[in-house]
Symmetry: C2
């Protein structure tokens, strides 16, 4: 079932994914900050997926896809396109199984993310920073290598894997009123929907998105997928559009999508570095940015925020540019 | 007993401290990085004391001192001098008990640390950045307020409190061959000695110090305390000299003291931010810096490193200056 790209993954698929990936991933800790609670009026819990070995939650879905392959299929390796973290995480998962990994990355991807892919033995082919160019370049790479295509988010194996994060989060916090994550293609949000619609159907699921790449927000309001070809935002993990599988979960289970400006995202990023003392990407700061501008909505609530990644070019921090 | 400044704290004092402070401190997580293990050839465990609410291990000793005061003594509050984190942590502990806190800080203390003290309600009096000026200014402040003097490290209550960190660390890791921490005045190292000399007497305790503030190293080699008046290093938490109580532990229980240059410290700091994805101070990077230049000594060993603090001026990162 999971081999069919249109298959909608189930709660049991998530449980199976969790059992499969547990030996290879970290059960990441949850951080809190009395200062940030005071500042927002909410009770915030931060799930540190930036503390996965390759620095992002995407290692969950990637590991589920890689270790779910038959031995025969695994020999040809895996292939993908990604603006960064999925590429690193798929390379990492492939290296753990000892199989090849080919990735197509935009020329604009941060150097830190390219370095990580190469460190895990991933082969990079560069493309222009647009969805069109990425998909064309990928078709060529995949035809050449024959590797199993692991889409960064529109893949049932990937969504089932990402759903394992929300399961841990609920166990670690004894329940949450709201769970938030940034939204790009919607992989983490879809996995969160998959898990919480069974484990905690009363919990709100709120996605956070940069104003300058608000295609998911506009899709959510319109009722159908709207895709931009080349949005620009400091939150470089959130440049890709929703696809059919993630749209299924977003349209059926997400409570709301809220946006924040570039300046608000950078302020929230710096605030988290300073008070949580964790290194996280601009993309991961979007949820806190949206909470800070909508305090009434979150006041008194137990709010879980998934810190999606921590691969940052330390020489190009947004507040020092 | 603990009220006598010359009293040498015992293992039971540490256990009592742990029971006293547990409601107010975090049992901080331990982080590992396959990448840093590969780079060093050792198995590294990082105890994230930067994840204490006020951002440093010093909240342990400060909380033990504050909550150990009689109600009568507590009314007058506490007072101290500190180059930074002890000031924040004592202010934090005092605010948790609702008592006043007066601190003398050098004019050169990082703005981030001053901000933190003020956020917790601490009253700052500034002095010149030398031991002489600090002690003179403090005498005046203490005479004026009558607050209980909680020395940043040469205080049995403080050392017993810091010792609780090593206890957690050994439980969380199922044992370590070597435990490392940076050394300034020697409070954390002394607490570590206190605890490990009972819990794991075979474990090595190695202190790490900046070459440019290597008074503990020279004291250790000479066999008596050598104090510099105004050393200069990027590791601004390590500017103070050993005192009699900490010298007792350092001279009796520390296996060795190793030093690192400013450049090595900055490189290790950036490496940890990048691969552990935690925000930590330059002071906290000294142990990893010394491991990287002495790999043979640590190869194959289970090495615990205490990340002592994470209060950093994000606008003045050493590698962007």
């Amino acid at each position: 079932m999971l081999g069919n790209p249109m298959y909608i993954p189930t709660f049991d698929d998530m449980l199976e994914a969790h059992a499969r990936i547990e030996p290879y991933i970290n059960r990441t800790p949850v951080r809190t900050s009395a200062y940030l609670n005071e500042l927002t009026g909410a009770e915030l819990f931060f799930k540190c997926e930036n503390f996965q070995e390759p620095g992002a939650f995407k290692v969950r879905g990637a590991t589920n896809a890689v270790f779910g392959l038959s031995d025969e299929k695994a020999k040809l390796g895996v292939a993908t396109h990604s603006s960064g973290n999925h590429a690193s995480c798929l390379s990492y998962a492939a290296s753990r199984r000892g199989i090849p990994c080919n990735v197509v990355m935009p020329t604009t991807a941060p150097q830190a993310k390219k370095d990580t892919v190469r460190r895990y033995g991933g082969q990079i082919t560069e493309c222009e920073p647009s969805t069109t160019s990425r998909e064309a370049t990928f078709a060529e790479v995949q035809a050449r290598t024959g590797g199993d295509f692991v889409h960064p988010y529109n893949d049932p194996r990937v969504i089932a894997g990402q759903g394992t994060c929300a399961r841990e989060f609920m166990e670690q916090t004894d329940g949450l009123d709201i769970v938030m994550a940034p939204i790009g293609g919607g992989g983490m949000i879809s996995g969160t929907c998959l898990t919480l619609s069974h484990l905690a159907p009363e919990a709100q699921i709120i996605a956070a998105e940069p104003e300058q790449a608000d295609d998911a927000y506009r899709s959510f309001k319109a009722g159908y997928i709207i895709a931009d070809d080349a949005p620009k935002t400091i939150a470089d993990g959130l440049l890709v559009p929703l696809k059919d599988l993630t749209w299924h979960f977003v349209s059926n289970h997400v409570t709301d999508i809220i946006t924040a400006s570039e300046e608000e995202i950078i302020d929230a990023m710096k605030l988290t570095w300073k008070h949580l003392r964790v290194v996280m990407e601009a993309s991961s700061s979007v949820p806190l940015a949206t909470i800070l501008k909508n305090k009434d909505r979150f006041a008194g609530k137990r709010v879980g925020i998934i810190i999606t990644g921590g691969n940052v070019d330390l020489d190009k921090l947004p507040w020092t540019l």
